[in-house]
Symmetry: C2
Subunit: 229 residues, 2 copies
Amino acid sequence: MTALSRRQQNKIERERRILEAALKVFSEMGYSGANMDAVALEANLSKPTLYQYFQSKEALFSAMMLGERDQMLAVFEHPSDRGMVADLLEFSWDYADTVLRPDLLSLARLIIGEVQRFPEIGRAYQEVGPDRLLRGIMDYLQGQRRGGRLAFDDAELAAQDLWGLILSAPRTQALYMPDHSPSRAEIARYLNNGLKVFLKAYSTQPETDLAELARLIGAHSLNQVQHDA
Amino acid sequence: MTALSRRQQNKIERERRILEAALKVFSEMGYSGANMDAVALEANLSKPTLYQYFQSKEALFSAMMLGERDQMLAVFEHPSDRGMVADLLEFSWDYADTVLRPDLLSLARLIIGEVQRFPEIGRAYQEVGPDRLLRGIMDYLQGQRRGGRLAFDDAELAAQDLWGLILSAPRTQALYMPDHSPSRAEIARYLNNGLKVFLKAYSTQPETDLAELARLIGAHSLNQVQHDA
DNA sequence: GGATTTCTTTACTTGTCAGTTAAGTTTTCA
DNA sequence: TGAAAACTTAACTGACAAGTAAAGAAATCC
């Protein structure tokens, strides 16, 4: 079963640990603020060993960033078919839970802060982060349009509207205030309101869908209370 | 008239130049990446002189950031009364032109990138940037609600929706991709669509207002063509 | 115009950090 | 078990950057 020798396994495991450490250190300190000793310490190995795995600070940074990017590709397989409103509510929460995760927020801050010195990285993340996410939303919305439940001309704009309505506010706030991340209740407030506005503007049966949304929100918050109790 | 001596004038002028230089250098390089020699060079003075004005790199950074923040307080006195739709369109463009200005985007990137090491600054900007902007929008929207032209329960959410609809997409993109800033046409696409959705969801006379919006957009784009020609 | 303040130049100290070297220790594999 | 590979320790180099010191040059004020 183990096609890999112990040595190769160690190598892989060490590289993983280095990249993990690099993410942590770079996220906290920024590229210039971070130092390789801190990365080595965090990864529990010595600096010379670190340099056997990556030839330079910049190489480590790039490898780490591209690795993280590739991990993002895996996220967001879309569920569906419990009805449009339920679907929208469900993946609104999925998006919120991902996009507001502290580690991903740190990474986003790092990218934004370094993008002027590493423009490729900005582009790379635009592609797999926002663009990919948008593509997913678009696909879903277009499906609903074909089914006659939504009406719009431009799917890209509709998807961006949905995103902007549900997550722009809490995410912007979270980016600027790392210590004060929004509570579940605050997120719920944004999501519920955002979906309401979206359905009002885009649904072919706004009344029905808004009622359904209200019902689901009620159920969900009951759920929450039960959970919390 | 000159209550200030030449010396005092020079001092003030120099300080202004230092802060300006600091903004440029820190924006481009980040806090850790920037160095004081570069600031001195950019401000056309020597490093010892620089240190007579600010005791340390960190002091300079803070002073610069807080100074920039105070300048933002001046922006955004709200015009109005050419009709709600015209008003909304006008200050959408005002917001866009401000928020997408390259220097302010650089500053935003700097804040976001350094917020984990300077949390006070994140909070300070949240207050005068997003929060103040939001307050302005809220005031306007509440006025229109009193006048019976808009309907909503929560003014804060309504204001955030407007913001999210018109500017979240181009701004996020601009943050991630400094070299590829959106064209006027792209901005127009976001603004026009965003306002359309906003009016659909919040106007008490959606049809009338949407027609008015369409009319204004047509007029505006004609204007643009004339301007460009 | 001469004294005073302020700025400049140049050079320095001190600390930090990327990246390296060399000698010794541990792990792995055969 | 013994040789080879990989890792560790510890010290080092070279560069760069924060901050300072001292002596001279220039602007400013009276």
